[in-house]
Amino acid sequence: MLEVENVSFAYAESVALRDVSTRAEAGQLIALTGQNGSGKSTLLKVVARVVAPSHGEVRFEGRALVEWGGREYARNVGYLPQDPDATFSMRAIDIVVSGRAPFLTRFGWEGEGDFAAAAEALEMCDAGHLAARYLDEMSGGERKRVFLARVLAARPKLILLDEPLSALDAAHVQQFSRLLRHIVDRTGSTVIFASHELNWAAAYSDRVLVMRDGALAADLTPAEIMSPEIVRDLFGFDARTVSSGGRTWIVPEV
């Protein structure tokens, strides 16, 4: 459904993406990992049409991104920025229903169907009870769930999440990782999420893409990435593997 071909992107002074090529199929949960500044966020922004690539092409469902209308594309592809926030506090339900904006006509207001989709998205994110709460009355984890629900409210086929696990405590990281798996299994959408939580990324995803210096360094199965050599090579830290509960985990050396 998604094809990224030889995509490069440069910010003012530095190259952020170098000749990245990959593809994604429907119904996959794909973890995008790599060190800070490796190009994860930029790759997601290119696919989300936040920035245009300086070289290369992205195709979604066989059509180049430039051929898609902005709102038409937004009805199919949802993007969650790294630190989602609102300048002015609003109720969760109003925030989530604003995710339906790409479906509205110019002077249109959300109808019952839009509110039903928003309520369903909140429920899926285990945040139905937050509907009438205001953003400034919520914890960091609750906010993340509300903003994820806002992305889901448009029922996109492709969901791009920039560091959804960052700034969450362990309990919420676990909850959120399970939630991502649940979304893919239940909706059949494709989710690509950037994360440097290697163990969590591998534990729940179908594929792990590893970025390094703006290039795609590896495209592995979750089992393949659980190797001290690969971790040292791609992430730059010494680690060993530990087996527990039928799974292999990466543990940093002290």
Binding site: A12, G70, T87, I93, I95, E112
Partner: protein, 328 residues
């Protein structure tokens, strides 16, 4: 869930009607009070009384409502575009540009040509907007921090221009200019009121046209872009809109501060909703505030008219401080 959403739709319409009703009541009070008290029988028989009402008081009150709506809507637009609750036409230097233009025109003795000072003031506002926008624009991107800092620097420059212009002014011009700088609704004509109405109507249409895009900016520009909003185009149109109506308001009423900063805040305290809801409520709130302030300016002290800008500031400062505390 459904009752909540239906209730809120219903209450938006009710809120607009309620604020509209309050505005009409305040306007009625404003027209009925003043230095000359007018009774119904006087109005029926006395030509002078009718002239006071129709040529002096009515245009003044309507102009106050329109200027208040304009300043509040401009403030809301700037706050939305810059994602900054402190953004306001005065902070951005737009009103400063208008005042500087007027001061220079007055110093050059152009006050004797009717309307010319206003036109130069309007040009000053437009120039200030262009300058603040160009200074803050970098590679098709407008950085909010740079924009606010540019406004700060421009305001300092305009203050210097105004001070120099004053030092060349004659005593009569100086009095006129001072009154103008303090903000005043005295002597507003029906023609000026019509100009304000036209600018406000045009701005409301443009902002309503973009309302579904503007409300997405609250979540950040990258988020809005990913949802198909043409962010740079919306920002350019929004800034032009906010600046032109501010220029129009300042060219008629002089510099009246705090309306653009306060009204959107107060409206948001009651209605914590998106831009589409805030736009009509802010316009009505701004109109009500300025008409009410004008009543106080005229009747608070007998035989003395207080400068309306000082009143809005006196009202604004404590409210704004409490808003700051609440935010912190």
């Amino acid at each position: 869930m459904k009752p909540t959403t239906l209730n809120s739709q219903f209450s938006i319409l009710n809120s607009i009607l309620l604020l509209g009703l309050i505005l009409l009541i305040v306007i009625a009070i404003a027209i009925s009070v003043g230095s000359a008290s007018l009774s119904w029988s006087e109005l029926a028989h006395d030509e002078t009384a009718r002239a006071i009402l129709l040529r002096i008081r009515a245009p003044r009150v309507v102009a106050a409502a329109l200027a208040g709506a304009i300043l509040a809507v401009a403030g809301l637009a700037f706050q939305t575009l810059l994602r900054n609750p402190l953004a306001d036409p005065f902070i951005l230097g737009v009103s400063g540009g208008a005042a500087a233009g007027a001061a220079v025109a007055t110093a050059l003795g152009w006050g004797k040509y009717p309307g010319l000072v206003q036109i130069i003031a309007f040009a000053g506002a437009a120039a200030a907007t262009a300058a603040v926008f160009l200074l803050a624009r970098r590679r098709e991107h407008t950085d909010p921090t740079r924009l606010l800092l540019s406004g700060l620097v421009l305001n300092a420059f305009f203050s210097a221009v105004i001070l120099i212009a004053f030092s060349f002014s004659t005593q009569t011009d100086l009095t006129a200019a001072l009154r103008w700088m303090m903000g005043s609704l005295q002597g507003v004509t029906w023609f000026e009121t019509l100009v304000l109405a036209a600018f406000l109507a045009a701005a409301m249409i443009v902002l309503a046209w973009m309302a579904n895009d503007l409300r997405m900016l609250v979540f950040g520009e990258e988020d809005a872009k990913s949802r198909g909003v043409e962010v740079e185009r919306v920002k350019l149109a929004g800034f032009l809109c906010g600046s032109l109506i501010t220029g129009a308001a300042v060219s008629v009423t002089g510099v009246i501060g705090f309306v653009g900063l306060l009204v959107p805040h107060l409206v948001r305290l009651v209605w914590r909703r998106d831009f589409r809801v805030l736009l009509p409520l802010t316009a009505l709130g701004g109109a009500t505030l300025l008409v009410a302030a004008d009543i106080v300016a005229r009747v608070a002290i007998p035989a003395v008219e207080l400068p309306i800008a000082a009143l809005t500031a006196l009202l604004g400062v404590p409210l704004f401080l409490s808003l700051l505390r609440r935010d912190a």
